[in-house]
């Protein structure tokens, strides 16, 4: 985990409505939330020295997509858990997992399923 006790999450999605919903879901657990609107902004968060425990990564974003961002982050040695979130199915899933994502959720994200994954990652007491 990042040095702080609070779980630090980076939400990466180009849709402001979706980010708002994820934010509300995750704030229920007392997580600390940062948002990025595309893959490049997400990568820049780490390049500027920020640390995160968890990344929620959309795929279809302008510029750098989620698969590319995931591959780039893993190439930088970033070990944060990455949950890939996409409206697509098998194609995106395979690409994301090959790029280094830890888990995969289909849109729209189900809060219960997200909770199951967070528990599996030991982010919830």
């Amino acid at each position: 985990m990042a040095s702080s006790q609070v779980v630090k999450v980076l939400i990466v999605d180009d849709d402001v409505v979706t980010r708002r919903i994820y934010r509300t879901m995750l704030l229920r657990f007392g997580f600390e939330i940062t948002e990025a609107g595309d893959g490049k902004s997400a990568v820049n968060q780490f390049l500027t020295g920020n640390e995160y425990d968890l990344i929620l990564m959309d795929n279809d974003m302008p510029g750098m997509n989620g698969v590319e961002a995931t591959r780039t982050l893993r190439g930088m040695g970033i070990l944060a858990k990455i949950i890939a979130i996409t409206a697509d199915d098998a194609n995106s899933r395979g690409a994301f997992l090959d790029a280094g994502a830890d888990e995969f959720l289909l849109k729209p994200v189900n809060f219960t399923m997200l909770t199951v994954i967070l528990k599996a990652f030991n982010f919830l007491n």
Partner: protein, 151 residues
């Protein structure tokens, strides 16, 4: 004021939105996320959706107005709009967004125009209905008001 009647009207309007296919089960999830810490969450997200979707639709309008149609750009805008619709459970709009994207893939500009007009109509109807719904909820007040005895 008859709070019970207002609540019944709001419930009826809400049921109609699901029965007529304007909303799907994703909207339930938004309602489940509303709590004491975020008491107006659903209305806030819906307001955000209509503000952002209006922006996206203006971008699409501009792109459709251009002499040379950029179907890739149109598809990107519509993919964003579809994502927003999915997130709040705007089911009919989501379907229409998919139809538009199919037309983009076929480079069928007339199909795109027709689909987009439909999306605009659905957007307008959904906004009116949801605004009425939230207005009724605001007038009805919290549930306790409905059971407060008359003075």
């Amino acid at each position: 004021m008859d709070y019970v009647h207002l609540r019944r009207q709001a419930a009826s309007l809400r049921k109609g939105l699901f029965d007529q296919g304007y909303l799907d089960e994703q909207f339930y999830q938004l309602e489940d996320l509303q709590d004491d810490a975020s008491p107006n969450f659903v209305e806030e997200v819906v307001t955000l959706f209509f503000r952002d979707s209006a922006r996206l639709m203006a971008n699409i309008d501009q792109a459709l107005d251009k002499c040379v149609k950029d179907f890739n750009k149109l598809d990107v805008y519509m993919q964003q709009l579809k994502g927003s619709c999915t997130s709040i459970g705007a089911s009919r709009m989501k379907t229409d967004c998919s139809a538009f994207r199919e037309c983009c893939r076929d480079e069928n500009i007339e199909g795109c125009m027709r689909s987009f007009q439909k999306i605009k109509r659905e957007h307008s109807v959904l906004r009116q209905k949801l605004e009425s719904y939230f207005q009724l909820l605001r007038q009805a007040g919290p549930v306790e008001c409905a059971t407060r005895p008359n003075k």
